[in-house]
Symmetry: C2
Subunit: 374 residues, 2 copies
C-alpha cells in the first residue's frame, strides 16, 4: 500500500475576494465534491483545450456530475493563438448560451492559455461571474492560478487586453503533472525556483536538496507547489493591482521576455519558463557586475537551474539570436533604448530581489554583448 | 451681459476609486484645462460617434491641444448596434495603436453607447486604464456617467458583457444639451425624476415646480443634473458591485425594459427613458393596487411626467403591443412566468421606493391586462 500524501491548502488573502488553492493528488476526480461543498447549487461552463480534454475532461465531467453539478463543456484549440478576441467571444457566447447566472462558474481546465482566456470571460460576462481554476500545468499551478491576472493577446503585444479577476477556488491536481512532457515540467520549475530567489532563500536551499523528489511527485512536489503559491499569494495580497511590490514577480522576466520575443515566441526554440531561467541567471550576473551581489550567488543559481536541465545561457538557445540592439529594443519596448534608465528586478543575493528603476541601458547593452557569446 | 451660472461638482465616494463629476456650461471648451490640471502629462484617445463628432469633436480636440494634451480621435457609427464586440476590438486597437499607457486615458465623448463601449475598452486595455467621460446626452450625464457600469450587448441580450470600471473624471457640459432633440432631452428627464421618486421627495417637488427652467437651461438645469448625479452616487457608494441597494435604481425599469423589448427596441416607437417613464407610473400604480401606496401618489407621478411631454401609458406607445403573456416573458426573462415570485422596485409613496422580491407574477399579469387598454 502506498502512502497518500496529504493535501495542502493555500489561502490567498484579498479581503472579500479571498480564495483557497487546494493542492494535492486526485483533485480532478474530487472536483465535484470540493466545488459542491463550497458552492451548493452552482452550475458550470467547463472551458478546456483539445489536448487537455483528451486526458482529463471525462474525469472532470464525471466528477462534477457525481457532485450533482450541472456542467457544459467547451473544447478549444490548444496553443497561444487561442488567446484572442474571437475565442473570447466564443467562450462568452457559450457561457451565456448555457444560461449561467452571476453566481454560476466558469471552470478553466488547462494551462495558462485556458486559464487566462476563461478567467477573462468570467470577468466580463454579466460584469463578473464566479471562476474556478483546475490548472493542469506546473506553470499554471504556481503562477497563473494566483493573482487574478486574466487576458488575451493583441496584434500590439501579449496580454495587453484583460482584467484582474480573482478565482473563487483553485484545484491544483498534482497527479496530472505526471502526464506533462518533461520539458514543460522543467519550464514550470523555473518559476518555482523564482520564488526562492525573490525572497525565500531557505526555499531555494530546500529545492537544491530536494528537486529530484519534486520532479518525481509525491509530498515534495506538493510542498514545492504550495510554497510557490504561498509566495506569490503574499506578494499579490500586498499589491493586488500591480502598483509596486508585485513587480518583483518579474525577476528574470525582462531578459526572459526579450529572449522569447527574439526567438519569435517559437516554443521549439524557447518556452516561457526557459526564458525565465536564462533571465534569472542574467539578472544575478548583472547584479554581480553592478557590485550589488556576490558572483558566487549567480554561480549557485546557474548551477542549480542547469542541474535540473534548464537552459541558463543565451548560447543554450538553438539557432541565431538577433543583434544586441534588437534585444535592447525588446527590453525597452522601443523606448529609451541605449539611453536613459530602465526598470529591472535586480538582487543583493539569493532571496534578496528588489526593484531597480535606475538601470542604465548602456550598461545592459555592454553586459549582453559580452554574455551572448558565453 | 448674461450671468454665467456657476459650476457644480459632485464627488463620487468610492475609496481609492473616488472621482469628480463637474457639471456646468462650456466644459467641452475647458476640458483641456480641467484634465491637464488633474492629470499632468496624460495622453488621450477620444472615442465618439459621427453625429457627436460633427457637433463637438473639433471643439474638444482644440481644447485638449490648448491644454497641452496629445489626443487621437476615433469616430464610430452612432447607434446601439455599435455596442458590440467588433467595435470593442476597434477601440482597443485604436488605444493600443496610439501607444497609450495605463495612466493615459480613454475619453468618451458621446451618449450612453459611446460611454459604455469606451469605458469597457478602458477597463480591459492593459487591464485598466484611466477613463474620462464627456457625456453629451442628459441620460448619459445623470445615469451612465455615474456608477462605473460599462459594457456591450450580446446576441443573448443587452449589456451582458462588460466590467465595472469607474471613470477618473466626468465633465458634464450642460450647454451641449441645447443641441439635443427635445424628445431625447425628455427621455433623459425621466431618469432625473426617477431619483426624486426613489428617495428624494423634496427633489421631486422641486422638479414639479421648476421643470420648465430645467428644460430651458441655466442654473436650474445644473441643479437638477447635480442632484441626480449625487443621488445616484449615494446609491452606488453604498453598493458599488450591485449586490443590494443599487437595485433601487431600477425603479420603472422592469416594466420599462419589457416595453422596450416588446417594441423590438425600435427607437421610433419607444426610447429607453420613455419606457422608464411609463414603467415608473406603472410601478406606482401597481404599488397602489397592492395597497402599499396611495393612488394619489401614482396620479401625481403620472401628471408630472405627462406635463413635461413624456408618455405615461402603454396606450401612448404607437402601434400594437404584443399579448400580455409576451410582456410577462420579457419581465421574467423566460423564468417563473405567471407562477412564483418576481423582484420589482415598488414604493410606499413619492420618494419611498423599495426592493420587493415577493411580487406574484399572476398579480402582475392581471394588472397589465387591465392597464394595457387604459
Amino acid at each position: 500500500m502506498t502512502q497518500t500524501p496529504s493535501h495542502e491548502t493555500v489561502r490567498v488573502n484579498l479581503g472579500e475576494r479571498s480564495y483557497d488553492i487546494v493542492i494535492g493528488p486526485g483533485l480532478i476526480a474530487r472536483a465535484g465534491a470540493e466545488i459542491a461543498a463550497r458552492k451548493p447549487g452552482i452550475r458550470c461552463a467547463v472551458i478546456t483545450d483539445r489536448n487537455v480534454a483528451a486526458a482529463h475532461l471525462d474525469s472532470l465531467m464525471e466528477s462534477l456530475a457525481t457532485g450533482g453539478i450541472e456542467a457544459v463543456p467547451l473544447v478549444l484549440e490548444p496553443g497561444e493563438k487561442t488567446k484572442r478576441f474571437d475565442e473570447l467571444v466564443k467562450v462568452c457566447d457559450h457561457v451565456l448560451g448555457a444560461r449561467l447566472e452571476r453566481g454560476d462558474a466558469v471552470v478553466a481546465l488547462g494551462g495558462g492559455v485556458i486559464g487566462d482566456l476563461s478567467g477573462f470571460a468570467a470577468g466580463i460576462v454579466r460584469r463578473g461571474m464566479s471562476f474556478i481554476q483546475v490548472p493542469t500545468s506546473l506553470l499554471a499551478q504556481v503562477d497563473s492560478s494566483v493573482g487574478g491576472k486574466t487576458g488575451i493577446n493583441s496584434s500590439h503585444g501579449k496580454n495587453l487586453i484583460g482584467v484582474f479577476h480573482q478565482p473563487d477556488l483553485v484545484l491544483a491536481d498534482t497527479d496530472v503533472l505526471d502526464t506533462l512532457p518533461i520539458r514543460e515540467f522543467r519550464a514550470g520549475y523555473a518559476e518555482v525556483a523564482k520564488y526562492g530567489l525573490i525572497d525565500r532563500p531557505e526555499f531555494f536551499g530546500w529545492l537544491e536538496q530536494n528537486w529530484r523528489d519534486v520532479f518525481a511527485g509525491g509530498a515534495a512536489r506538493i510542498r514545492a507547489i504550495a510554497t510557490g503559491c504561498q509566495a506569490k499569494a503574499d506578494v499579490v495580497a500586498a499589491d493586488e493591482r500591480e502598483k509596486g511590490a508585485r513587480a518583483l514577480l518579474n525577476l528574470g522576466h525582462t531578459f526572459g521576455h526579450a529572449l522569447e520575443a527574439a526567438t519569435d515566441y517559437d516554443g521549439r526554440r524557447l518556452v516561457h519558463g526557459e526564458g525565465v531561467a536564462i533571465g534569472m541567471v542574467l539578472a544575478h550576473e548583472f547584479s554581480a557586475r553592478m557590485n550589488l551581489a556576490s558572483p558566487d550567488d549567480a554561480a549557485r543559481v546557474q548551477r542549480h537551474l542547469s542541474e535540473v536541465g534548464l537552459p541558463t545561457r543565451m548560447a543554450d538557445i538553438e539557432g541565431e539570436l538577433p543583434a544586441t540592439d534588437i534585444l535592447m529594443k525588446h527590453i525597452g519596448q522601443d523606448k529609451k533604448v541605449r539611453r536613459g534608465a530602465l526598470t529591472f528586478i535586480l538582487t543583493r543575493g539569493i532571496g534578496e530581489a528588489f526593484v531597480a528603476d535606475d538601470v542604465q541601458a548602456d550598461e545592459v547593452f555592454r553586459f549582453l554583448e559580452e554574455k551572448r557569446g558565453s
